[in-house]
Symmetry: C2
Subunit: 176 residues, 2 copies
DNA sequence: GTCTTCATGTAAGCCGTTACATGATTAA
DNA sequence: TTAATCATGTAACGGCTTACATGAAGAC
């Protein structure tokens, strides 16, 4: 019985971040925490072990750097790593298993009152995220030197368009 | 070290289905496969073991029924089961860990060509789902007797509004 | 001095998917 | 008679989260 699954995509998220330059595990974690976290969340403890695995596989290089007495392990992507990243990037995107608890509850709602309560709860959540996105947009707009600026802004606006359409729909329903 | 996690929501999906009446594991599976599957997918093998667990816990009652020589196990929800369901339904909805591979790729795109390819791929997928939804809508509209008809239609149209907004956005971007 | 941030992990254990298994009935 | 559908599961194993651990440097 052989399982060749490799569903774990943490590696691609890490390799993708390293495309922009060498970083420590901590820096990768921090970057994800303020950028990909809304559409791609990694748990705290996934980054470091995966970096070790990637190093063993030759997809990243590890270098120990001392800042004063403080030891850091800085990782950089290798050619092999770039090839693996590109292989993933170019392959068809597999959908995640859908698991939307809000819609599941909506499906089981029995009357308009329950529905409106669900809409209200959802609206509050979505508006919070929208506010966050707007802040990120401002930050991104003020940057002029990054080569990824345009594409990241586009990705962000894709998310914003979504959220705004949802907010409009929910507000409309709520007041009906 | 005590873990009180109970993140597994399969039980609520099952209890929710049983609210509409008794069913076998197979029927629950089939119903989910043609209704919740777009926003809540259960793997093949989750239903039966969970029904056994729920029976042990007294949340459902099991009854063996013979149809000719064929044996079936029909489950119905108990009062305890209804209380558990309601407890979940009324509690705040916890967001799933975001894992959107399409957005992750978009985040790592380097130029407009890559972006447009991703948009195109996404568009094809979303249009397929939209077609499916439209079929379900037709089916639902033709039913007049179900007490859940109105609420299920609303849930569906929430999804449709989403998809249509996304399709519009993607088409717009593609042609820019 | 103490709190926050930097920096890096391990272990336990639930979660979920895939592969594999079995057998009856019914439609073509 | 063969394929599809009904009907019900088990086993293996990778995936992922949460809790727990450690220690230095810098800010206040």
């Amino acid at each position: 019985m052989i399982f060749v699954r490799l569903l774990n995509k943490t590696r691609y998220a890490i390799l993708g971040v390293l495309l922009d330059g060498p970083a420590t595990g901590y820096e990768i974690k921090a970057l994800m925490g303020r950028s990909t976290v809304y559409f791609w969340r990694e748990s705290d403890s996934t980054i470091y072990p995966m970096l070790k695995v990637l190093a063993r596989e030759g997809k990243v290089l590890s270098e120990i750097v001392y800042v004063g007495k403080k030891k850091k392990e800085v990782f950089s992507i290798t050619e092999m790593g770039q090839i693996e990243f590109q292989g993933w990037f170019d392959s068809p995107t597999r959908e995640e298993t859908p698991r939307n608890e809000f819609l599941l509850k909506l499906f089981f709602a029995t009357d308009r009152i329950e529905m409106v309560r669900l809409f209200q709860e959802r609206l509050e959540k979505v508006e919070k995220i929208h506010t966050e996105y707007k802040k990120i947009e401002e930050r991104l707009e003020s940057i002029t030197d990054s080569p990824r600026r345009t594409v990241r802004l586009k990705a962000l606006r894709y998310g914003l368009a979504h959220l705004e359409s949802e907010i409009k729909w929910l507000n409309n329903e709520k007041d009906k």
